[in-house]
């Protein structure tokens, strides 16, 4: 679908989108943006339950939201969980992807299947299985168990960008070149492979970050109130105070937007890097 039609479409006289396209995209934008935009407005509205537009605007709810005792703690816990997950995920996945692209190419199908598996397991089922098996301390309902669960759940998000980046470089040739110069495995990985697939590692880490930062199901079912993260606080406030919940939602949405922009930025960098390598060859 890439190249053959492209010149054809460009010679097409139609430079402007057709009417039905505009309608379809406009309705899509409406559906996608209205809930978000409304939440942003709701978070700064004094009162917005009797009229179509808010009666006034205020930052009061943000001040109150940031002052709630759990705000900093849950934010910190969410960051700890995300960072730990990214770290474990990198340690487990990057070397594995490297081996599968160099010495153990026969294992790639198995790896691909293992990476689809998490999509087929509903998060509640994963939570139930883990809670039932690891029901003795210190693992039972501990943050450690949660990290394991979240790594499994977010594994495909790390795997795909890293695997694509590894595919784009000729890992085997690079390895052999390094080894012929006397480098050992760790030197090859840290000095040659990792710098070359850095864009993939970065976008994988960012994808995992945004997934884990918003994770609710595994956290609430495996550890619950013992290790409260930001999404748990948000759900709690949807039942206590709508205005403050709106402020928390805005924080959550904004982080998601920022991370996506970063991923996009890293992604274009990565593509440039890849084309440069191809041109260099």
């Amino acid at each position: 679908m890439k190249n053959p039609q492209k010149p054809l479409r460009e010679t097409n006289k139609k430079v402007r989108p057709a009417g039905w396209q505009i309608v379809a995209v406009a309705l899509f934008l409406f559906y996608m943006l209205l809930p978000i935009v409304s939440t942003y407005i709701f978070s700064v509205a004094t009162r917005w339950d009797r009229t179509i537009l808010p009666e006034g605007y205020t930052l009061e709810f943000y001040i109150r939201a940031f002052q709630t005792s759990y705000f900093i703690i849950t934010l910190r816990n969410s960051l700890i969980l995300s960072a730990a997950t990214i770290l474990v995920s990198l340690i487990v996945i990057v070397p594995t992807v490297y081996w599968v692209h160099t010495r153990l190419t026969g294992f790639k199908p198995l790896l691909d299947v293992l990476m689809i598996l998490p999509f087929g397991i509903p998060t509640v089922v994963l939570a139930l299985a883990l809670v039932q098996v690891y029901n003795v301390p210190p693992l039972a309902r501990s943050p450690i168990l949660l990290i394991g669960a979240v790594v499994v759940y977010s594994m495909p998000f790390m795997y795909r960008p890293v695997s694509n980046a590894m595919q784009a470089i000729d890992a085997l040739t690079l390895t052999e070149a390094g080894q012929s110069l006397g480098a050992n495995v760790f030197q090859v990985l840290s000095k040659i492979i990792i710098p070359n697939i850095l864009p993939g590692i970065l976008s994988g880490s960012l994808l995992v970050f945004s997934t884990v930062f918003a994770e609710y199901t595994l956290t609430s079912l495996i550890v619950g109130a013992k290790f409260k993260t930001f999404p748990l606080l948000l759900v709690e406030y949807t039942r206590i105070n709508g205005n403050i919940a709106a402020a928390f939602s805005v924080v959550s949405f904004t982080i998601a937007w920022l991370v996506s922009i970063l991923i996009l930025w890293v992604g274009t960098k990565g593509q440039n890097g890849a084309t440069e390598t191809i041109q260099a060859r």
């Binding site: 559906y31 996608m32 999404p231 759900v235 998601a256």
Partner: protein, 287 residues
């Protein structure tokens, strides 16, 4: 390739995958196997039994499966139909820049599931939501109690929110309609309807099936959105399993395991059909 094979013994090589495989075993494979075992073993006698599955024959559990299948099926079909239209509109959009922006938007919004999304829907469609107010003011129509964001109808709208962009995202991987086919059909005198009836729809069919099954699985496993919105007002499989883990209901845990295994089977079937349909769909886009 031969060079590297000579350097290291092939048999010892797979040892390098052990950390990863152990991790998968510990946190994925073994727990799921235990779950399956727990669902077919009687706790007291340690004998094989299908009693736990027979126990699912209770209005509460049957209803939760029915509701889950209904909402997943409905939102998958709606998502595929509208998502295909929207995705095709974006795919044929003349400006690359706008295409990219819309795809990024889809990428972000499809991951907005969960608590913030659920709350955003309360803001627009709750009792005093923006749209609720709008209907009241301009159409003198009260959405409530016929519609409620805290019920099946509301949850459907919230689910479609993450289903639509997912379809938009996966469509480019399929989209097999070639400009040449269109032109050939036209030159042979086919009108637009005939083109879609005889070429377009049959070629797109595997893609549509793949879309429906993926979206179905996507909705079937969803939990956080439903938990935030409907909680006890609507019974869904994932919510029921969640209650059992949280210990909010004192029931035999084996029933939860049996429910979990049945939902694994449903998910497995959907993903399996998705894979098969994707392979068929790719055939058209390759040649």
């Amino acid at each position: 390739m031969p060079l590297s094979k000579r350097k290291t013994g092939y048999t010892s090589d797979w040892v390098r995958l052990v950390p990863f495989l152990l991790f998968c075993l510990a946190f994925e494979v073994v727990p799921i196997l235990f779950l399956i075992r727990g669902s077919i073993i009687d706790r007291n006698t340690s004998q094989l039994t299908i009693q736990h599955y027979l126990n699912l024959n209770h209005p509460l559990y049957l209803n939760s499966f029915l509701n889950s299948i209904k909402i997943s099926g409905l939102t998958a079909i709606v998502g595929v139909i509208f998502g295909t239209f929207i995705g095709y509109a974006i795919y044929r959009w003349p400006s690359r820049r706008i295409q990219e922006i819309l795809m990024t938007l889809s990428d972000v919004t499809t991951n907005f599931a969960g608590a913030p999304l659920a709350f955003a829907f309360v803001v627009i469609l709750g009792m005093n939501g923006v749209i609720t107010q709008f209907f009241l003011e301009y159409f003198q129509y009260e959405l409530y109690p016929t519609f409620s964001i805290y019920s099946f109808s509301g949850l459907t709208l919230a689910y479609i929110y993450f289903q639509l962009p997912l379809m938009v995202l996966i469509l480019p991987a399929f989209a097999g309609i070639k400009q040449e086919w269109r032109e050939s059909a036209q030159s042979l005198g086919a009108n637009a309807f005939q083109f879609w009836r005889h070429i377009g729809v049959p070629v797109l069919m595997p893609s549509l099936i793949a879309g429906v099954t993926l979206l179905f699985a996507n909705a079937f496993g969803a939990y956080a959105t439903a938990y935030t919105l409907v909680e006890a007002k609507l019974s869904l499989v994932t919510l029921q399993i969640g209650y059992m883990i949280a210990g909010e209901v004192r029931k035999d845990p084996a029933i939860g395991m049996a429910m979990a295994v049945v939902s694994l089977i449903i998910m497995g079937l959907s993903i399996g059909i998705y894979q098969a349909a994707t392979i068929r769909a790719r055939r058209w886009s390759k040649s």
